[in-house]
Symmetry: D2
Subunit: 334 residues, 4 copies
């Protein structure tokens, strides 16, 4: 008998990925919670999850252990309180509860935060860093896609003092189109995207402060650009910095990652000389990391690659949900 | 000193192609006529055509010899009368004036035709078939993309009695996404189209009656399917039929095409053994035709390929405009 | 304790798909058998299957219950005998053993068949039609990708007399590029394929006789064209025919399919009004079928869609392998 | 009467682009010089240029004013001497004559340079920087694609002292697949490239020394990564640096570019707030430049975009050829 968990926002790309993962989950069963009308999916010709009209009562009456919110930030702010009151945990995939203060939220999201108390309560969790905080939490804030790849690459190096921070860090990020969501727009139309490549945010992407907060670097040190790849899914970040004087060989950097992630089920550190590409993680919850280092000048390039819909959204959310419900962290994800 | 011609609907894909062609036209100069607000194009960093707010007075005062309408049918119906009254010719790229009767328009376009007199006046022109009718016309109806490819392939064969019509004709048509226009929709979103292929109209596409009217075949003889290719532009139609008893060799079919099109500047009949692909006509006003014939069974396959935005829309429109204005038919198009 | 089965040709696209499926199979474990050197795959950063140098002794000593051959026909002909002699069953994914006679093989494959006795022994199996023949067989010939989609669509209709065969059957087939294999060639280079669509075989594809043999139709009745879609994977066939006088409504055709396939786990018959697309079956072992019928003229269009690497190759091979080894037919495939 | 110029290597992507441009050139006429057998292009159904078997005599007898070499470096080294001796100028599109010394050639191209005297004679020309050197030259070395975009972006800033070089310069470069040439390889196969994005050279690309030589920066200051976009054509470079203390506003950087390039026909400096994308330059000889600057921290991002086959190869070669032959620099290119 599987535990039912709700999904609101199941028509979007992250929502569809949540269904896809939960369909094969050994302990959990998805329940679709219809909240707002949207464009329907194609005809259902196979088995489909149970679908209910959303209300807090429905959450309570159906004994949903948790609700996953794949909704815009303002919708997540509205829904979270009532769902928690109905006795379910919330894993929110939006940006509503990711930043540390309402001021910072206002600066980067250009809107007021309407739920400061929930913001204070929320536990932001990249499981590899914060897994101990999740079991006791009611509200888990799932990280953004770009920060997940950036923080998994940067934090171990920063902790080990491997980066000469005086020269700054460049993070040149490229994402597939699903990162922009399923709502039709000219910018994500096939004819505008195919055979094209464009930059859509330079230095001012709203995911930047998540990297700063989690990795402990200053905005002045970090140059971030978000670019649109003509692919469905995947994020590749090319990260540039000068290594500190402690680092003499590529092996030194490799060892730092192995020490940090040697036991992690979803981190794959590439052997020196090999580099990950987008396809390596497609449809999977992995973050793949590759290293290139020039000993003479200490110029360093680190690649960090994830599937934006899996480790960057739905997969990490299930990882957090597993932790929140006391299940094996990797359940349904390998 | 170039003759000014107006473009309404210049933000769409056909409109952009009209600008692109007219920018290099030796005798004509494009004037953009702003009619309804729409999503702007990117920043203008090069030379750009003159842009005016549309009104019939503006058409008259600026001495526009003609106006090209790259607008939806209902807009074309509204605009045509006043433009003609202002003294300019009209080349309409929509379906408004393509069918022979208001009843047929209503059946296939699911709306009433509001301008029956203009419909009666309009000259429908595939230049290769109707070029003699164009110079005297005020209102030229430019053919649809699918019918252009189909009619150019079928008409010579039908005229020569080369098709055994008892067995019917199958036209399996595939189009790039620009054929659906520039307005954002879920169906034309990158993530829905890439790595996909779908059928969007079977037997009931509104372009079917144009083929029937122009080629003189009956609906019961003609099976047409419209499908969406994950490419920006281009139409390829795979046409199947049984050849009539007069046809003994592939050479017989080849000769029919050469006799019909030997002097045509925009028709390229492939040597036997070679077949055109989408790329062969990309950005060009050609219609490329290839033939495969099985002598034993008389099964025949004809490929007809065009760029839907050029020979299927803007290129053919300029071809018609050249004829209407007494210019060389190929001006700006080779 | 899982049963080991060998894979030869594991570096190709079908081979990779075999590994992917067997990695999650509840009863079987893949063993890679290195037969000829080829270009290596990317760096192995996760778990990888056991890899051995191929020899018949290795097959015997490791107790392989079966060997899957994802090799060219001439290699399959060479390998099959020794593997059978070593006590393992063979499921061959090539065309080596698909046709009924060596003469037919020579006509369509343009080479002599070197193993007529094995050809006589081989059991060709689309499991939905031939599952009873598989358990007793040593050598199973896995169907071609195009014939799988065509036969699953056509056989029930032909058996029910639903097709007016005097007018012939048109099968307009489109395939993703992986159908051409992994060996580099100009025709499958990115720059040649992207934003293009081309026809590569008209009336003479080597998969045609498989359709004729399995569905019992005559070559003169069947017009088949194979075309290259700019996508990685998937086959969509648009099939045209006139329905026989027995068929009055689309519902009649729908019922024929439901009766034939109502219990089949991998066949999905779409409700009338809905049509499958390539994405619906991507990565899955389904064959999806949709119907469009015009009652007045009996023109009919049937869509049949599969993933060429799954139901068209590796998935169907595992389905056959499950049957051959007495396992549940769907094991590892849902 | 047009002046004939030869093309060797006309079957590659750069060669095809040379033909495409020369077909519309007002003063020059392409003559194809067959040098080595290669895979043929598709069927010729339109007009095609004259084709001759290459020999130095043929160059002389046909009065070719120049020969364009779209060949690998080692072929260019062999061919250049005899062509010059036959009285024609040479514009070489390969890397054979781009670097200043044979030692540097050996380090980056991993082969010995066989023509040191020609290397000494060759004039490397980005026309915007070196146009005065070209008219007197016999042998012009056409720049690499990546260095063209990088140098056009960097040189004016470096000359104006706008970059704080202590912090280094990062150039994150992305290229379409045609940059890898037309020879089939697994890395450029459709199935490997589509829905993928990969890094193929980090810090050690052979184009790096061209940037260093032309812009006068040191290798230790410059981090360059070359990445493969799933598109046919185009290069976008995202360039990161800290501006020097002289720069207070984005306007300051904008002015530097306008002063340097205000009169240049092929440089388009975007207004502040706008950024170029790949499509903006597709098929054109432009280099488009956009700027983003953060005044508080002086972090700066410059985008430089070209079509790798036009401004990055064939277009720039014709620009140089025009200069070499005393024709208007923009002839055939606008």
């Amino acid at each position: 008998m599987k535990t039912p968990v709700g999904i609101i926002g199941f028509r979007g790309y992250s929502g569809a990925e949540l269904i896809h993962i939960l369909d094969r989950h050994p302990h959990l069963e998805p329940v679709l919670l219809e909240h707002r009308e949207g464009e329907g999916a194609g005809p259902q010709v196979g088995k489909t999850p149970r679908k209910l009209a959303y209300s807090p009562e429905v959450v309570r009456e159906n004994g949903l252990a948790a609700v996953l919110l794949a909704t815009p930030p303002e919708v997540s702010m509205d829904l979270t309180g009532p769902i928690l009151a109905a006795g379910a945990k919330v894993v929110d995939l939006s940006g509503a509860f990711r930043l540390g203060t309402v001021d910072r939220y206002k600066r980067w999201y250009k809107e007021n935060h309407t739920q400061p108390e929930l913001l204070a309560e929320a536990v932001y969790s990249v499981p590899e860093f914060h897994r101990n905080l999740v079991p006791g939490a009611r509200l888990i804030s799932n990280p953004g896609c770009y920060p997940t790849a950036a923080n998994l690459a940067l934090r171990p190096l920063l902790a080990a003092g491997a980066i000469d921070r005086r020269h700054g860090i460049v993070c040149d990020a490229k994402s597939g189109v699903s990162g922009a969501g399923r709502k039709p727009s000219l910018k994500t139309s096939f004819c505008e995207v195919t055979e094209n490549f464009s930059v859509y945010s330079v230095l001012d992407h709203r995911h930047v402060p998540e990297v700063l907060e989690t990795s402990g670097i200053d905005e002045s040190e970090f140059s971030f650009t978000a670019q649109l790849l003509p692919v469905h899914r995947g994020i590749l970040e090319t990260i540039y910095f000068k290594a500190s004087s402690d680092i003499s060989t590529a092996q030194d950097l490799h060892q730092i990652y192995l020490r940090a992630y040697g036991e992690e089920p979803f981190l794959r550190i590439y052997p020196l000389g090999a580099l990950p590409d987008l396809r390596a993680v497609s449809g999977k919850n992995y973050c793949d990391i590759g290293i290139k280092f020039d000993p003479g000048t200490k110029r360093t390039v680190v690649l960090s690659v994830i599937d934006n819909l899996v480790k960057g959204a739905a997969g990490q959310a299930i990882q957090n949900l597993n932790l929140a419900l006391g299940l094996p962290e990797t359940a349904g994800l390998l």
